[in-house]
Amino acid sequence: MSIKAEEISALIKQQLENYQAELNVEETGTVTYVGDGIARAHGLNNALSGELLEFSNGVFGMVQNLESNDVGIVIMGNYDGIHEGDVVKRTGRIMEVPVGDALIGRVVNPLGEPLDGKGAIQTTKTRPVENKAPGVMQRKSVEQPLQTGIKAIDALVPIGRGQRELIIGDRKTGKTTIAIDTILNQKDQDMICIYVAIGQKESTVRTQVETLRRYGAMDYTIVVSAGPSEPAPMLYLAPYAGAAMGEEFMYNGKHVLIVYDDLSKQADAYRELSLILRRPPGREAYPGDIFYTHSRLLERAAKLSDDLGGGSMTALPFVETKAGDVSAYIPTNVISITDGQVFLDGDYFNSGTRPAIDAGTSVSRVGGDAQIKAMKKVAGTLRLDLASYRELESFAQFGSDLDKATQAKLARGRRTVEVLKQPLHQPLSVENQVMILYALTHGFLDNVPVDDIQRFQDELFDYIASNNKELTDEIRETKQLPDTDKMDAAIKSFAEHFQPTKEAK
């Protein structure tokens, strides 16, 4: 590259010509305390809550506490260079993050700075991190389905666009997998996905990003990551930053899926900084406004009215329980804020039922309206059937003297559980889901050995795709269940040719 001295000096000349000496007026304060991601400062008499401040070493902070003598500041970034006696300046701005299409496919930190080494984010648009949620008249009830591609969720606890569905369970029960699979299934669905990793191991986030990239999902996904080695304010801020990025798309009429993985770590980070700011601790030492912290975040997920473009933001917050205890403080809070929860059970997970969704305690309060007609018909009684099977199952272990009806119920139940199992990263289209659930509820699987169910399913899909394509096309286009005689005929002709594995008998 040759340096054109002429050109450069012309540019500098231009810059200098436009330069005007201005009197630099700054409102300042003095740092009196620094520690663990927060600082206190004297002065700053006119500082506003939530305002961005600049420390003398260039690090930014956000005003959290306004007290009679000083202000409590959370530091966004490295606080090693800040000392007692340093000057803090007001900036007059509030905390904002870059938003827009340029972020898609990127991995950023909660301040919107790139973490993936792909250079600066080319966008001029920003949005405030904290933003008021849409009000009553700006919303519309949830009506479009969000297909997760996971049979157990789409059939039992359907999620609609604009809904907030909590994913809750112990550690290592497959919570993140549900998020990743759901994101993978949004390919070509005109959705933008945001995965907010809060306090997740950097290596784990790396793996997730790699998975998304491998399946081509990074083309419509933004990853916001605040690792465990970041100071607590970054973890606290991450979901709000993610929500701001999602809102930009939502208010432009697009559909957004945002995953907060997970909010219990965010609550812990907020507890940490609240305690250092000397806010009084409440239950489990969480501050008094921990409920508001989560409610104002999740309330920003919405289905907007047609006047506002009809965009939506679906939130999938995660909460980690300890030993399945859903009555702890944070789980109960978030359960009451969200429109339903998917409960993942450690025992199911370990016994091989994956995804380990507990049908009894999982609910969706609004998603049913968003389910397509065909799915509603085939999955209508599935939840109850499954619940009664689980109940019977424990009895059945005592003996085999059961009447015919009970035995049939048990056989059906075992097959239902088997059908709802799904391997990693293989989301299913809704028409195929309807197909297999139809086969299940209409008794076509009753004669198939349990161990052969998965194979039966896969081969059924292939068979339908090559012989009765019009059925799946009809479900996809009309959202209605095709004529039952045709369905029966198609599945029957396949079932007759299905060869069970010999050993499985």
Partner: protein
């Protein structure tokens, strides 16, 4: 949770300020308090030994007598009261806070001027006058300081505001502009 120093100082000084303003003895009180502050500044640790348990009560009272001997009624009472409540440590903060209250009431702002060359009294007066107009206060008391690292111009610092018209800052701004 015990109250912090500033909160306590504000309470004591506000009470004192109100009572002396009512009686019209503000200026005398202020002058007297500043003398006492001087005593405390000259004898480092005086506040501390009067607060902690190192000395016998009657020894402390002797020191207290010296302090209050020539004091006016209100100042004497203030010292005795702060002693009784074990707040002698905070006396300097209380006096500072009292001075702030007086300044705020009389609309006086104290500021520090930093310039590259020493300023004449005339220049300072003019500056104070202009600055007072800008801040909409009746008087600005300037404290001058010379620092040649700012190259030229001047910086005025008050409690929480910095008016920076120095060449150094302007050069920095140009640098920012050229880099960014």
């Amino acid at each position: 949770m015990s109250l912090d120093k500033t909160t306590i100082a504000k309470r004591y000084s506000k009470a004192l300020f109100e009572i002396v303003s009512e009686k019209g003895q503000r200026d005398e009180t202020r002058a007297e308090l500043n003398q006492i502050q001087q005593v405390f500044n000259d004898n480092e640790g005086l506040g501390k030994i009067l607060t902690d348990k190192g000395l016998e009560q009657n020894q402390k009272l002797e020191i207290l007598n010296i302090l209050t001997k020539d004091a006016s009624n209100y100042v004497g009472n203030l010292i005795k009261m702060t002693f009784d409540y074990g707040r002698m440590d905070y006396l300097i903060a209380i006096i500072d806070e009292f001075n702030n209250l007086c300044d705020a009431d009389e609309k006086i702002v104290r500021a520090k001027v930093v310039s590259a060359i020493p300023l004449s009294d005339q220049q300072l007066d003019k500056m104070a006058e202009q600055f007072a107009k800008r801040l909409k206060v009746s008087e600005v008391v300037l404290d001058s300081e010379v620092d040649d690292s700012i190259i030229g111009g001047a910086i005025i610092k008050t409690d929480s505001l910095i008016y920076d018209g120095s060449i150094q800052t302007q050069i920095n701004q140009i640098r920012q502009r050229l880099i960014g």
